[in-house]
């Protein structure tokens, strides 16, 4: 699972109002290179929850992203920033670990890079 997905996932348990973002417990993180496309990164930027991304990246061992969400000018001109964002979003893979709901503490295990988001009968 990459951070691009983590940034969109929220805990789906019935009654939970504050299920985003899921806390990452990183067991094994690997890096896989992906072609850099600045247009895609710019396109995704508008949808991201920046704080969640920075925290998530830190949990996966990447602390190069700025704390504050950059403004449009940086997005247009600063390619090194875009490359960092690209690296954080698409090239870091959580292979083993868990995602933890911030409200209930329920753990969603991650195996072989696949988070198990199946809810139990009483959570639906």
């Amino acid at each position: 699972m990459r951070l691009i997905t983590h940034n969109m996932l929220s805990c789906n348990i019935k009654g939970v109002t504050n299920g985003f973002p899921l806390r990452i417990e990183a067991g094994n993180v690997i890096e896989k290179e992906v072609d850099f496309n600045p247009d895609f990164i710019r396109h995704m930027f508008a949808k991201l929850e920046w704080k969640a991304l920075v925290e998530g990246a830190r949990s996966m061992g990447y602390a190069e992203l700025p704390e504050d969400s950059p403004d449009a000018a940086v997005l247009e001109s600063d390619e090194s920033f875009l490359k960092k964002l690209h690296h954080a979003l698409l090239e870091l893979h959580l292979e083993e670990g868990a995602l933890v709901c911030p409200e209930t503490g329920r753990k969603f295990p991650v195996n072989k890079g696949i988070p198990n988001m199946l809810l139990h009968e009483d959570e639906v």
Partner: protein, 289 residues
């Protein structure tokens, strides 16, 4: 297939390790899935600006449809309920992220983050109650509701479905409409039992776009004997619930002789036994009758 898989077992049990491998190694299935995925992507009508989008593949299975998405230059997130199918996807090193999850429990994605969703041969599984605690209607509601929320404005969801019967198709359509979707059904090759494919094309938000017409026999230039002049590509559009229904004004003039003669002729054409027309047909009776 002689038997519909969804009648045999729930998807996470039907698609076990053996079945998952069989599915993915059958070149026929691979080919069909690729074609269906290409068509679904086409129907998504993503802007042709060269910018890759982030798509959702619902019921992604072993990643066959996901590969088509990658080949078209987009990034994707896949969801499936069968761990065995997802394991095959991992082995095949698909480029999308994979989630083990049940679409009937809701997608759990933040609002407005997905640029488009496709689903190949998966949504019909929602119509079966695989556990005693399942109520298909509620599952469909959770699915469509969460899907509507996570799609960005103007985004589409395209589902290729194999509905078991009309009732099932209507159930799916109704739930989609109730969730706020607009859209229509696109049917390719409606008159061919073998080639017929149905795509449910759902639209989000108030963007007025035209739904493409389905393909028919004339597209490929193949000569089938039953192709007639007026063969229309099948397109059924669904109206918005809030649009006022056209009310039939009751005919206050009563049923005239002309009307009666016309109806009798119609009935005759159908082959019914109809008394002959005479000067007495439609004559006003005495008030005694």
């Amino acid at each position: 297939m002689a038997n519909r898989p969804e009648l045999l077992a729930p998807p996470e049990i039907f698609y076990d390790e053996t079945e998952a491998r069989k599915y993915t190694s059958s070149s026929r299935i691979v080919d069909i899935q690729a074609k269906l995925s290409e068509r679904a992507l086409e129907l998504l009508a993503l802007p042709e600006d060269g910018v890759p989008r982030f798509l959702l593949d619902i019921g992604c299975g072993s990643g066959l449809s996901g590969e088509t998405i990658s080949e078209n230059g987009h990034h994707w997130l896949g969801l499936d309920i069968s761990a065995s199918m997802l394991n095959v996807a991992v082995e095949r090193e698909v480029e999308g992220d994979l989630l083990l999850g049940d679409m009937g429990q809701g997608l759990g994605l933040r609002p407005g983050v997905i640029d488009g969703a496709i689903s190949i041969s998966a949504v019909q599984w929602l119509c079966n109650a695989d556990k005693s605690s399942h109520e298909p209607r509620l599952r469909l509601k959770a699915f469509f509701g969460s899907l509507y929320r996570c799609l960005s404005r103007g985004a589409r969801a395209v589902f290729q479905v194999y509905p078991e019967n009309i009732k099932q198709r209507e159930l799916i359509l109704r739930q989609a409409l109730q969730a706020g979707f607009g859209g229509g059904l696109v049917v390719d090759y409606p008159h061919s039992t073998k080639k017929r494919k149905e795509f449910l094309v759902l639209t989000c938000g108030s963007v007025q776009t035209s739904i493409q017409t389905g393909k028919n026999e004339h597209d490929e230039g193949c000569s089938e004997d039953d192709s007639s002049e007026d063969e229309e590509s099948g397109m059924v559009s669904m109206s918005d619930r809030n649009r006022p229904k056209k009310r039939q004004k009751p005919n206050k003039e009563g049923k005239s002789r002309e009307w009666m003669l016309r109806k009798k002729e119609q009935s005759r054409r159908k082959g019914n036994d109809v008394p002959a027309d005479s000067k007495y047909t439609g004559r006003k009776r005495k008030s005694r009758f």
